[in-house]
Symmetry: C2
Subunit: 422 residues, 2 copies
């Protein structure tokens, strides 16, 4: 029996550390050449498998692979594409099997969030239901931190650090200017249905003179009258008011405050624009001079201020995914298990993909203060270790980070037919 190859792909919104997981997968696979021959990376996630667009990582020098540890975004390309169920679109699964068979692929590593773990879970069913033997391991990744079971999701800690540091800095700026200029500052952050990223803004409070003063979570229905009252009170007592607003803030009817009307490929509404919406409200109703920022992709790509904890966990989970596969596990996702907050101690474990797929872990109510505008000590104790340590990338003499670009050289196709992706 020939040694099987592995398929690895990146899925969903990319992060500052998903490439660190890729590095963990590839470096670990290279240590076991008698069990895993080559790692083929899918170009643009599962699309790479469907289209037979495979990047042979064995041709990439160790230094290039190692540089993935400090390079943000998805080095092999990612995708927003959700496989349908086996019964609804059997053709896609048959195509996957054809591609896997043509390239002797026996391992499937899929690196993504909730939707992607669902994809990994569906692919794992090929073994039983379609008789093609393949070991499927999901690798967690999402800035939203909304995957269940794992203590944290790689990508989140770095966004959390970016948000906490940025709002700390902006708060000092506003404090400097408030006497004669800006009174209200609003920073919009990501997190569609879970307030984890918004909560991270609260980490700055003890060091930023109490700012951010108000955090708006998707978990707490927005009450305009109460919000405006709190803004005015804060300006009256502190001289200024700093606000972190989740893009997913909703009214009591569950309607997003600023819905753009667009939907992504997973059918989720594409959000953006809560900050200018609130700024307009504050100007109109309170007449207060304000400024606002929308960090958008800057936050999830900010490898320059990545958390050391996050980079370590991202790598460890990629590494452990390979170890789990080699140990004969299947249809599982490696996870982080927290042992203690301070000092932060954790170990690796795993959980069945069927339990993970499509489950969203929102911020527990007891992580949000009673008034709904801040975080509790329990939330702080949870979050603090996740932003600890500065994992700086190396820089060129010209002042820019040395992020790596991997050539997307595709291996020769074995199949005659192209596959039209829906």
């Amino acid at each position: 029996m020939t040694v099987k190859n592995a398929f690895y792909a990146q899925s969903g919104g990319v992060t500052a550390v998903i490439n660190a997981s890729a590095c963990g997968v590839i470096e670990t696979a290279r240590l076991h050449p008698t069990k895993i021959h080559k790692v083929f990376a899918g170009r643009n996630g599962i699309l790479g498998a469907l289209k037979e667009e495979l990047i042979d990582t064995s041709t990439l020098a160790p230094s290039l692979i190692s540089a993935l540890k400090h390079t943000p975004a998805g080095a092999f390309g990612s995708c927003r594409y959700k496989l349908k169920g086996l019964k609804e679109n059997r053709e896609e699964y048959e195509r996957l099997i054809a591609v896997f068979q043509a390239h002797n692929i026996g391992y499937f590593f899929y690196n993504g969030g909730g939707d992607s773990q669902d994809t990994a879970n569906k692919v794992s069913q090929i073994s039983q239901e379609m008789g093609y033997p393949i070991t499927c391991i999901g690798i967690p990744k999402t800035v939203d931190n909304d995957l269940p079971f794992t203590d944290a999701c790689p990508g989140f800690g770095s966004v959390a650090k970016y948000v906490a540091v940025s709002i700390f800095e902006a708060s000092l700026d506003v404090a400097s200017m408030a006497a004669s200029s800006t009174k209200v500052f609003i920073m919009e952050v990501m997190g569609r249905h879970a307030g984890w990223i918004a909560a991270a803004g609260g980490l700055a409070q003890p060091v930023a003179l109490g700012a951010p003063h108000l955090i708006l979570f998707p978990e707490i229905p927005f009450n305009q009258a109460d919000f405006l009252k709190r803004v005015q009170e804060t300006v009256n007592t502190k001289g200024y008011c700093v606000i972190v607003a989740s893009e997913g803030v909703q009214d009591a009817n569950g309607k997003f405050l600023a819905e753009s009307g667009l939907k992504d490929a997973f059918g989720h509404s594409q959000l953006g624009g809560v900050a200018p919406f609130l700024a307009q409200m504050v100007k109109k109703e309170l007449g207060l001079k304000n400024h606002w920022a929308v960090a958008d992709y800057l936050q999830r790509a900010a490898r320059h201020i990545a958390s050391q904890t996050d980079v370590e966990q991202a790598y460890a989970l990629g590494k452990h995914a390979v170890e789990l596969a080699l140990a004969g596990k299947n249809a599982v996702m490696p996870i982080i298990v927290r042992e203690s907050d301070s000092p932060y101690r954790w170990h690796l474990s795993d959980v069945a993909l069927s339990k993970v797929a499509n489950v969203e872990k929102t911020l527990p109510r007891d992580f949000i203060s009673a008034d709904g505008y801040g975080i509790t000590p329990a939330c702080r104790a949870y979050l603090e270790p996740l932003i600890a340590g500065e994992a700086y990338p190396p820089y060129d003499h010209n002042g820019l980070p040395q992020y790596v670009h991997l050539p997307h050289q595709l291996i020769a196709k074995e199949l005659k037919e192209d596959f039209a992706v829906a």
Copy 2:
């Protein structure tokens, strides 16, 4: 004759390194106790002088002063307040003299941009026109980089680094996702009438696979049809299009694309919202999925990614301001003179405040590519040394920077009357 005290204040929009200039002023003054007794910092800029709200920096431990070097924003508070001319508002000048006299102030150091240098210049006229002897030195500061004579303005290099690094990172993100998701990304940056900050985005081009593909400068009138054509062409050929847009982009009639209608205390329009404006246009006219970011204060407060060159120059200019005063110079501003691009060599000099006040240095046309959407090699050669080096702040074990908060303890007032600021 008793040894005179000095007045120091911060003015206008704060930056990541204005406190480094404050540090240079205070540390240098402390080396000359026989010439400068104490440095009193104005609370909230010139307002501190008018209101007799003075912070005695001599009570602050050396470690606190030294920490200013790595702390963003204005540690003593800043203001947006422009003194009228001597003839128009003599009362303000009489008040300044009364406060200076009451506290034996013989030196006036004013740290700010174009408007602030105008204030410093007006104060310097007190000596001649109102018979109160005072040495006035302006210290340059502005993220807009639009002061004349000096090679660069402290604050700019750090924003430039932030913008170049951020757009590099976001470009990698978009490149990862473009196959099935976002095709156009727009980042709005500061720079009201000068495209220096937008130009800094162009520094990423050689390392970011050619992104940003389009830069919109305030110096180049916006042409909607041409812009949309370029966006579509870029998406067609590269798969995605990354855009840096200055907040000050104007149409052919000089109207800002996205004017909020508000004006600041200097009478300038308060801008913001060019990115969502363009995003809406791209969606409506081209139907392309897009994302946008508005960095706003995050960019000018981003001490965590400050440029080493910028921090060094900010400190050196503060230090030199004191040295100029002690050498008997008056009504001048210290400047950076470039000797060579690579290696970057510079020395300090000075220029008369009367020549600086209210002069705006915009991006030269030969720094902008012929098509109006990029930067030239000359621009790159100018900008590169300004973002060189990473001057990281120290961090706490909890993952946040150790920025210092100076107590704003005011010295006892000597004057009986309060002064109502207009």
